[in-house]
Subunit: 245 residues, 2 copies
Amino acid sequence: MTPDLTTTTKGPRMEAQDKIETQNETQTEAGTLHQTLVANIRNLLIEGGLAAGQRIPEAELCQRFGVSRTPLREALKVLASEGFIQLRPNRGAILAPLDPDQIAPIFELKGALERLIGLTAAERATEAELSRLSTLHLSLNDTLASGNLATYTQLNYDFHRGLAEATRNAELMQSYDILQQKIWRFRFLVNDSFSRIEESFAEHEQIMIALRARTPLDLAARLEAHNQKTCDAMQRAVAQLDQPG
Amino acid sequence: MTPDLTTTTKGPRMEAQDKIETQNETQTEAGTLHQTLVANIRNLLIEGGLAAGQRIPEAELCQRFGVSRTPLREALKVLASEGFIQLRPNRGAILAPLDPDQIAPIFELKGALERLIGLTAAERATEAELSRLSTLHLSLNDTLASGNLATYTQLNYDFHRGLAEATRNAELMQSYDILQQKIWRFRFLVNDSFSRIEESFAEHEQIMIALRARTPLDLAARLEAHNQKTCDAMQRAVAQLDQPG
DNA sequence: CAGGGCGATTTTGCATTCAGAATTCCGGTT
DNA sequence: AACCGGAATTCTGAATGCAAAATCGCCCTG
């Protein structure tokens, strides 16, 4: 019952393609128009297409995606329930402000999920999943050498998502996805200044070892620590944004 | 006409009032109509106003809540994104089936949240929150004597929600709420057959002790165990539903 | 020139309408 | 009598229309 586990290239939750940019685009995508719209707008917001706190121009999005206001507003309501935008009565929607104070709670919650992922994935991961994660890990190594930050970030996301999938817990996956999407917005905010590739990869090495050894407590601890370090790094990066001197 | 839609008892997430029953009801509630609609329909679904898997009668709900299809469909889309209903393209929405196999994943995830709640609430709860939780705990004790299952369930929910609030983690709260709502549906499913009031209260005693002592690890462990026992009891109750012999 | 009030314009929220898909109904066939 | 096919009906998805709220622009006053 897990919807769409075939994420491959782009950011979190890429159920849909990147664009229905023009007015008369044929919509042959697998999902419904509604789901596509939600995904497209979410990606637009996550990837910084609009400034945080900025008013979301309903009419403009209608034209951009070639739909009328009814389905667009449905999508906005869903995105509001996910916390990406804020609906103000009679005053339209704004992109939810990115408050640096949100980073800690988000990662705190994610830490709890990472622990559960570690505890259960160590026991439940199939051999196929193990080898797929190994492949991803090797790709990470390659990217580390090439120094391509964007690719590394994406592969890193795929790796962690693959680990979460190994838990076979759809509830967990859903929460994990939403958290990752929220973090993704911060990633785009801090952009280049956020790079701890070498350190991150070293932690991944240990994570892979614990996973292959199928030692739940160890894997959980490594994932929690990895999460904590990512949180710290992101908070430092955001702090640097505020006062770049 | 067929389903009895009169709901009385209160469930999780009661931000909104119970009814906008008539056509020309004045809407003076704090939230927007949209939020009210979502909450009302969610309560309706959670509390078993419709059978699981049953088709959701759009027109009937429109009449019931006195709104047109546009805001109603917006609410349905949100509820679908929360997982309470399933949207089938061109074939309407159905109340998401209650699969007993969902119980384990839901409680597994909730266990991870409970642990985090225990770890952090033990340190962050204010004295005011402590005393409020104590009051709730005493009310639980009173209800235990009276044997009122519905009241106990509601107070029990309030208690755990209060504990979650003490974490000061809005992300955690949101995930916790959604999980509780999902569990609430199962509660209404098993109804009376699910009663472990005495045992549950005994666990709450220990939880209160650990909370007052502000011992994070102990509180976390107690909450996790409490969660696990609740899960077990619910699975047994559901199993009994299948074969009531 | 700054600040405030008032009308015009834009935007929102919801109702209504319309095209197309799905379901139902009903008669014909085997 | 059961089954199949097609028309009529119902329902869904989305566009459009409309009233109310909010925003903007302008003018006036101090």
